[in-house]
Amino acid sequence: MKTIIESKGLRVAFGQKEVLHGVDLAIPEAEITAIIGPSGCGKSTFLRALNLMHDLTPSARITGEVVFDGRNIYDPGVDPVDLRRRIGMVFQKPNPFPTMSVFDNVAFGPRLLGLTRDEVHKRVEESLKKAAIWEETKDRLRAPATDLSGGQQQRLCIARALAVKPEILLLDEPTSALDPIATAKIEDLLGELKKEVTVVIVTHNMQQAARASDNTAYFLNGDLVEHGPTERLFENPKDERTEAYITGRFG
């Protein structure tokens, strides 16, 4: 099992408050890793640290390393735009570009990369198919993206992220605003996607982590408590704090 990205002693603080206290976590390539934990445990902070999202927060202070492709992404020479192309992100609420059509939402990245018109068309179709939303949108590609349902918008956002061919896809509670049917579609989609892209998903839905992931990491109060194969972690956790959380004896 090959590691694609790995945090080493990763600490993140906002102002005086440290929210991640030195996390070592290796993410296996071409698998789905779920990150679970109660609110405020640092799981989203961890996810965002994997593609330099905290750069946008002035008070954020980050120490330790995130090693991707042989180098620490926090080294000064790393181009954040290029890194975010290689490590894509999908957020909790679907956030298609509101003034753009379905097509233009997905074409946005490929156009920035300088692809030709034909290549862009090909890439958009391919991405919409991979995100399992092609059938629903192929006849309305020029419609505003905001005309789509919430579940469709989220799959559109996944298509948009896939359009620049990332190596890792980070998803921050991607189904928490969706109904169970739309959620099931996204979970099925993740299983397909992992053939070509490593997936890291933050979720507060434990059943989702159990259903959809290969590995699960449990965070608590800014620490990584336990991580391992999903089935093992949910059937027989090693740490009693994990046990307490996943059986609902927490708090």
Binding site: M206, Q207, A210, F234, E235, N236, P237, T242, E243, A244, I246, T247, G248, R249, F250, G251
Partner: protein, 220 residues
Amino acid sequence: MMERTFHKDIEDLGARVVRMAELSRKSVFDGVEAFAALDAEAARRVIAFNQEINKADVGIEARALDLIALHQPMAKDLRALGASLKIITYLDRIGRYGYDIAKATLALEGKSHVRRLVGIPIMRDKALALLDKSVDAFRGRDAAKAREVQPADDEVDALYEQIFRECLTYMIEEPRTITQCTQYILVARHLERVGDNAGKIAEKTIYMVTGERRLDPSVA
């Protein structure tokens, strides 16, 4: 630590499993009593009593599946429900051996024993002691106690061998004892299976407590 009603529900389910074990125990105990006394009336009561065990089996299974469907349990909760579902099957079988022993009593209706039964009641007590130990371990979530069951089952197996050989000797010496001795061998075999199922309950208890899954050593 917060206790949810769900966890109370799991405890209640465990208590129902323990009560079912008492029914299964009674079936085997009374079955052998009826057999030893060749008391057909008592045997018929044991046969009818097995309905209670079956009801418990069906009711506990339904409840366990409801809890799984409603709460999607994880970790030790999931293991407790999974273990309970298996254990009630073993308990149902144990009850059924009491039923089969009662049937053996009816097969000997109008006959008398070859001699006073000694080995079979001893074997019953040893097999039921294993059941008691397994159920105690289950109730107390005590893996160490559960681990004591399997080795002790060898003793029950040895008693079965002994009764089997003894019956063969009788049958060779006196063919008129064949009807009785055949039933003795069957009854001893049922009791040997009671011990085996007690061992399986202990295995599931170990799994429930530790998450450790072991292969059945008797088929290794």
